[in-house]
Subunit: 312 residues, 2 copies
């Protein structure tokens, strides 16, 4: 990387690759803040990527995503993997307190230098989540993590897309949450590579497994059939089975050459999101406000306003 800022970047990169949490954190912040150094940074990181196993974990609120992620991190660490977690949390002014529970659950890993945890805000402008998260994953891959776990609330459009762009997407459901039907409604069954019935000690777990198995028969024919794993993440039960399923999936991706396809699809989504970011960054906010007021007052139609915004 060239120049004076380049020298700083090189030092930062070296520190991050040596595993220094503070340098890793600063690198990730550069990405999140849309730093002007990003092109240089990601350009020099590119050749270093491709090692990490990228795992998406998603499911409806209350299904136990954070607990499962934490247990999964523990199991991966026990195998000797260095693990990064990207937690996509809705950035609510109220969430400070509400999210504390998650942070406490994850805090068993807080002092482990082999684990890096970062929360990413999911609210904000269009495309933000879809644009930022893949780049954060890219950076964490490049600095040497063996596994990157991306945890999202798996209901919204952007959130599901982000989780689904992992190498392996783990979808959690739990008994008594409207079961598989709600998962199907949320549109997350079709992106599942591994299905987890968490809280499998609750009544209705068998019915949920049956429902999921039934739903999978409607899945478009492919050569990978998502296994259904039962877990009680809070007790650590079934987590080894989950790791086995993820490892098996990874082997299958490599064996069949699908890993490359999956990653090309991820790059495709990332490029589209960056085009969106570029388009939005070119909007003049004051002009936007003025035109929006005119549209709201029916003095101007939306398409004329868009043409004015685009300078066409």
């Amino acid at each position: 990387v060239a120049g004076a800022a380049g020298a700083d970047l090189d030092a930062l990169l070296a520190g991050a690759r040596a595993g220094r949490p503070r340098d890793i954190g600063r690198l990730v912040s550069l990405v999140e803040n849309g730093s002007s150094e990003l092109p240089d940074l990601l350009g020099s990181l590119g050749p270093l990527t491709g090692h990490a196993n990228v795992i998406g974990v998603t499911g409806p609120p209350g299904v136990g995503k954070s607990t499962t992620t934490s247990a999964l991190v523990g199991a991966l660490r026990a195998r000797g993997d260095r693990v990064a977690v990207v937690a996509v949390d809705p950035s609510s002014p109220f969430s400070g307190g509400a999210l504390l529970g998650d942070r406490i659950r994850m805090s068993e890993h807080a002092t482990d230098p082999g684990v890096f945890i970062r929360s990413v805000a999911s609210r904000g402008h269009l495309g933000g989540l879809a644009a930022t998260t893949p780049q954060v994953v890219r950076v964490l891959d490049a600095v040497g993590f063996d596994a990157v776990v991306v945890e999202t609330v798996g209901v919204g459009q952007s959130e599901v897309e982000v989780a689904a762009s992992a190498d392996t997407t783990v979808v959690l459901v739990a008994p008594g949450m409207g079961d598989g039907v709600q998962a199907a409604k949320a549109g997350i069954l079709e992106v599942a590579d591994v299905l987890v019935v968490n809280k499998a000690d609750l009544p209705g777990a068998d019915a949920t497994v049956r429902e999921l198995r039934q739903a999978l028969t409607h899945r478009p024919k492919g050569d990978w059939t998502p296994p259904i794993v039962r877990t009680v993440a809070s007790a650590g039960t079934g987590i080894d089975d989950l790791v086995d399923a993820i490892v098996e999936r990874r082997d299958w991706l490599r064996r069949t050459g699908r890993l490359g396809e999956r990653r090309a699809a991820r790059s495709r989504a990332e490029l589209r999101a960056l085009v969106v970011e570029a388009a939005l960054s070119r909007i003049d906010d004051r002009q936007l406000d003025a035109l929006a007021a005119q549209v709201a007052d029916a003095e101007l139609d939306v398409y004329s306003a868009v043409r004015l915004l685009l300078g066409d």
Copy 2:
């Protein structure tokens, strides 16, 4: 509207404004399909808008959104309002069956010519949901509905934004779903203008109301304090209170001049989404595929790829 296609459009518009369901449906389809006639169409509709009360209904899966929406439609109809419902459903290949239940619940209104119901797919490309839904609402407003109810799964970024761009956003929670904490996690409390504790006959309803009241004390100070309404939508209980709360909110918006602000904000979001659509429509898909493969193989960095895509 000028031209031969324009004559068809005029007939379509006249039919829709006369309340013919088939014409309304065709108009909405033009918007959803991004018809080339949209600029003309929305241009001629603009001056007709501003009458409808736009109501967002959102909340986590399983909270009873469809049942509540259906009961709300019934109550608004009883007041003599013509009502349109825009249901934003994740478009899953599995959802056909799963969604049938909702459609059946709504079907009590299926033969009522004063009610129009349309499902909008929430999956798909970035910005799709945010771009399409406000325009569908605009059309339904212009053709004369008194109320337009927009129902979304209230967890994802796009979904929450769409619901929150209504005049009044109704946020549903239910006892025993992780309560207010999950609502806060989902980032939907802060967009609530009216809070509903549905399934209020279940144990824990009082605790949920208390939690919500507590959470509201953290809300940034404003002059509107969201009321908390208890409902059992499946039995019709509390729906009149919900309607009262919505009417009170609408009166407040008009009295304080906030209605204009809210609508300008909605136009602003719509314009941004249309700029995104325009940017994406200019991407050459074949070039995108080729560049994505190069990025995935680390032969090219993402920013160089974006510059090539943008033709900069």
